[in-house]
Symmetry: C2
Amino acid sequence: MHYKVKEVADMAGVSVRTLHHYDQIGLLKPESVSPAGYRLYTEKDLERLQQILFFKELGFGLQEAKNILDNPGFDRKQALTAHRELLIKKKARLEKIIASVDETIKSIKGGIQMNNQEMFKVFDMSEIEKHQAKYAAETRQKYGDTDAYKESMQKAAKYTKDDWSRIMSKSNEIYQRIADSMEKGPSDPEVQEAVAQWRQHITDNFYNCTLEIFRGLGDLYVDDDRFTANIDKVKPGLAKFLREAMHIYCDNLQK
Amino acid sequence: MHYKVKEVADMAGVSVRTLHHYDQIGLLKPESVSPAGYRLYTEKDLERLQQILFFKELGFGLQEAKNILDNPGFDRKQALTAHRELLIKKKARLEKIIASVDETIKSIKGGIQMNNQEMFKVFDMSEIEKHQAKYAAETRQKYGDTDAYKESMQKAAKYTKDDWSRIMSKSNEIYQRIADSMEKGPSDPEVQEAVAQWRQHITDNFYNCTLEIFRGLGDLYVDDDRFTANIDKVKPGLAKFLREAMHIYCDNLQK
DNA sequence: ATAATCTATGACGTAACGTTATAGTCAAGC
DNA sequence: GCTTGACTATAACGTTACGTCATAGATTAT
């Protein structure tokens, strides 16, 4: 039995245009075509469509879905596991956003507008999470499935909103201190002291930050534009400066 | 003090192009322009940018953000409250997706591929949630802030994954029964019996489904394309048929 | 047979920028 | 005072996953 476009569209809950599109990009070509040029789909096609929609629902793009479905040897488990991480982060971000919306609503009710300070905080936090989500995979590759990484994830998962607030506040404080001393140069004692605090802060709240990791982190701040952007929000050029200071810090301890 | 594009971009963590874009669409115009045509931003502009990014982070589009920021009298609370609902739904959907990813991973581990039946279920559920999210507002308008609606929301909020599975399974069963009897016509006793069960199912699991609401629900199935599409997935034409049957059911009880 | 419905193929529109391409501007070092 | 490098400007096409006409032929129902 063959189905025509609209039948398939209705069954799957997608538009006819969508099926045209999937045909065009070679994602789902109908098994056959009628003499008049009508697309004729079979049950097999329907199944593939379900799989496409499934992966789409999971947030994969159409090209990615195609890659997954067209490569029988593709490591679905790997792909799904990686994607799972993303979804978890996304969810956590949503929760934070909801909380912040709630606060905003509350503050409006109380006639007090949320101030920019608070807005900045909210934004910074979600930005950082975004980076984490996007670069979870790369980070994993860089640091491997090390204990450090796992430790970080486990700790982070337990943090409450207040914890985050505290941690971010402290982070900003340290950043600010370093930014204020930028003119003194990266090897200045005050800067080095702040850098030491920064490493301690990471160890306290995330994972055992070894010198090796700390050095790599400094590199990341400059190599990864998104980290750079985030750090340079405190003061332009801070990221680059921070890497220098962190390298000097590591050199001093390792020599 | 004035800032140039890149300074602002670095501070806010956005691209220069983004600022150009915001200028173009009139969302954020720099306070002044240098003789050479350079955009010069002030602190005020920075604040507005933060607000823009804040609302963007909350999922608003740029036009919406503009509307909110440009209308001092705009009901921010209303907008935020409406948006909150959406976020909650989004979060719930994410949770379901994560659960389904987990199951898929598990089934791959066990060497058993998830079957289409299961995939369909997952997809159906998230589809329905999508509709709920999108039409929460309209639904509220239609049924008002009635007790029925509140009851529904309260009940739904407590459902676990297993509850949903049970409810959806039963829903599909009833739909299927009606679909199988379509040829007999909407007033057929078997169909009417199934329709009665459908109403009972809604009452049991969501809210006290009065005849008035039930009739309106039937209309919704046809008037709202997304409901139609979803229902016609069981069998094309089912939505229209269902409305007929539901109307007949209501007529019989009300006369 | 005629109307209503469905099908096809273009081809432009959307949102929020990314990405060249081309050209003018500014601060610093020689 | 001139070159160099970093920055700025506008213009315009690319991206994603379709939506939305427009035009025209095919199928189905009455």
